[in-house]
């Protein structure tokens, strides 16, 4: 990478708020490839804040496993991409720091929570962005920014060095301008890692034949606006006609319950994971150590966490409380188990599932501001089911509405990532992805 190219990226960053921290190391030029990491993955040479003031100034002493793997393979880390605080958001507006702006219209959101990652994938040539998804944080920004967002099976990639949001939901994946780059680099970060026991349950790798059929869940299309459906239906025709896939309708009645179940599990886990931030071990510290520890932690946490983080901590603490645990937390775990069984039944009749990724194109910031809290949470209803069930999924650009990209999301059974990647490669031979004007 030439110094002038790094300068061009720096300029883009000033306009689009891509990075929390960007390298100034000009030796990046000689690297085999370059990549970025979402700012909730630890890195020895950049601060790691997960978009939160409570981690301001934190310099981790080790690299997260996926970062370590890409460096070992000759990759150079360009920087840390901006995100919603700890991954809490759908539009990347909940960061204590940079606000990423959509590569196709700066007045619009990049989506979240891996907003900076999707923006980097769209604007920087040949770029691989490491993203993290808990409930749709890779698919959503990929769809809004017109790039490919790939989320593997839960446990496929080590979470060692990831600042947890929901430990049973978090998945490290990749975003890039095309599926070919992801298919090439993804194997570098996949595989068991004894430092993360949840990554050690992989079945033996088996190459599968390409998918022959796609199921469209009837429930996913309920309430989708006509303009989105029209673009989506054109894409389905390409899949059916040009790619020769059999397209069937499937019934997924439990999708309706995935959204509440997801928010209960995610916030329950977040509230315990975030208990570690008390101003002693990492990042921000309190001013007065002479205070009683309860008061000290309260002071640090109240000043360090943003509004949405506090809301999710309160919600998750409540749903785990004695007297409510069975009604909320245990019930949500049961719904997840039943949903996995429902997916299995669907995969008995088709190889992959398909739906639009988001029910609308990237909203303007004033539209985001005008949304109620529940509307914001409900915006994720298409990305949540595969995330809750730990199923691998991928958002591919499939069209546009008034110049803004729209995505479709393919989902496969646990460990069947190869099917998604094969389908993505076939798709991009037939469909030209949107390219933003500004590029570096």
């Amino acid at each position: 990478m030439k110094a002038s190219r790094l300068e061009a990226i720096r300029e883009l960053d000033r306009d689009y708020g891509i990075f929390y921290s960007l390298s100034d190391d000009e030796s990046l030029e000689s690297a085999e490839f370059h990549f970025s990491a979402k700012d909730n993955l630890t890195t020895v040479d950049h601060e790691t804040t997960a978009g939160s003031r409570i981690l301001s100034g934190y310099r981790p002493p080790f690299d997260a496993a996926p970062v370590e793997s890409l460096r070992k393979a000759g990759g150079a880390l360009l920087g840390k991409t901006s995100m919603d605080e700890f991954g809490f958001g759908t539009f990347s507006v909940n960061s204590a720091f940079a606000l990423p702006r959509n590569p196709h219209d700066r007045e619009r959101s990049c989506g979240g929570s891996s907003g900076g990652a999707a923006c980097a994938a769209a604007l920087i040539d040949g770029h691989i962005a490491l993203g993290v998804s808990t409930g749709g944080s890779i698919s959503c920004p990929a769809a809004f920014c017109g790039v490919v967002g790939f989320t593997p099976t839960y446990g496929r990639v080590s979470r060692h060095g990831l600042l947890d949001y929901g430990s049973s939901l978090d998945k490290v994946g990749m975003l890039s301008a095309d599926c070919a780059s992801i298919a090439e680099r993804f194997p570098l970060i996949a595989g068991p890692d004894p430092r993360d026991p949840t990554s050690c349950g992989h079945p033996e790798h088996r190459e599968r034949s390409a998918a022959r059929s796609v199921g469209i869940p009837r429930q996913s299309l309920e309430g989708i606006p006509e303009e989105v459906m029209s673009v989506f239906n054109d894409a389905v025709e390409t899949l059916r006609g040009d790619m020769g896939l059999e397209v069937i309708e499937v019934d997924m009645p439990l999708f309706r319950y995935a959204q509440p179940a997801y928010y209960i599990i995610a916030t329950s886990e977040a509230s315990t994971n975030l208990a570690r931030y008390g101003g002693m071990r990492y990042g921000a510290r309190g001013e007065d150590l002479d205070t009683h520890f309860d008061g000290y932690f309260r002071q640090v946490r109240s000043a360090g966490f943003g509004r949405e983080a506090k809301r999710r901590i309160l919600l998750g603490t409540f749903t785990r409380m004695v007297g409510y645990r069975d009604r909320y937390y245990v019930k949500a775990l049961q719904v997840r188990q039943a949903l996995i069984a429902e997916y299995r039944r669907a995969f008995a009749s088709c190889d992959m599932l398909l739906a639009p990724t988001m029910p609308f194109v990237a909203p303007r910031f004033d539209e985001v501001e005008a949304m109620s809290l529940l509307e914001t949470y409900l915006a994720d209803h298409l990305t949540i089911p595969p995330n809750l069930a730990g199923m691998p999924h991928m958002s591919l650009p499939c069209g546009e509405i008034d110049g803004m990209p729209l995505g479709m999301q393919l989902t496969a059974d646990h460990w069947h990532e190869d099917r998604l990647l094969k389908a993505g490669l076939e798709w991009e031979r037939r469909f030209e992805y949107p390219v933003p004007e500004a590029r570096a």
């Binding site: 099976t153 509230s271 719904v335 529940l374």
Partner: protein
């Protein structure tokens, strides 16, 4: 969620809230919990697991090991003579 519950939960979560924040979170959380009550429609579910896929136990040999040098771990902490400074316990 009523204000009293928000206050109690905030105390447990060690977060200090102003009266204004309590009122606003109380309203937010009431809406969300109302939405969660959708799950009450589902009956008879029994099985559940804590992870969406099977997880293997990984145990290493019981030998002392220091992966990251202590001074690196302490770099980010307020320390005094190899002790981590913390707030008072009483």
């Amino acid at each position: 969620m009523d204000s009293e519950t928000v206050r109690r939960v905030a105390l447990l979560a060690r977060i200090e809230l102003s009266e204004e924040e309590i009122a606003s979170y109380s309203e937010d959380l009431r809406d969300i919990l109302e939405h969660f009550s959708l799950l009450d429609e589902l009956e008879g579910l029994e099985d559940y697991g804590f992870n969406p896929v099977e997880v293997a136990d990984v145990l290493r040999d019981d030998e002392p090991r220091q992966d990251i040098p202590a001074e690196l771990l302490m770099r980010d902490m307020d320390t005094y003579q190899d002790y981590v400074r913390g707030p008072r316990l009483s």
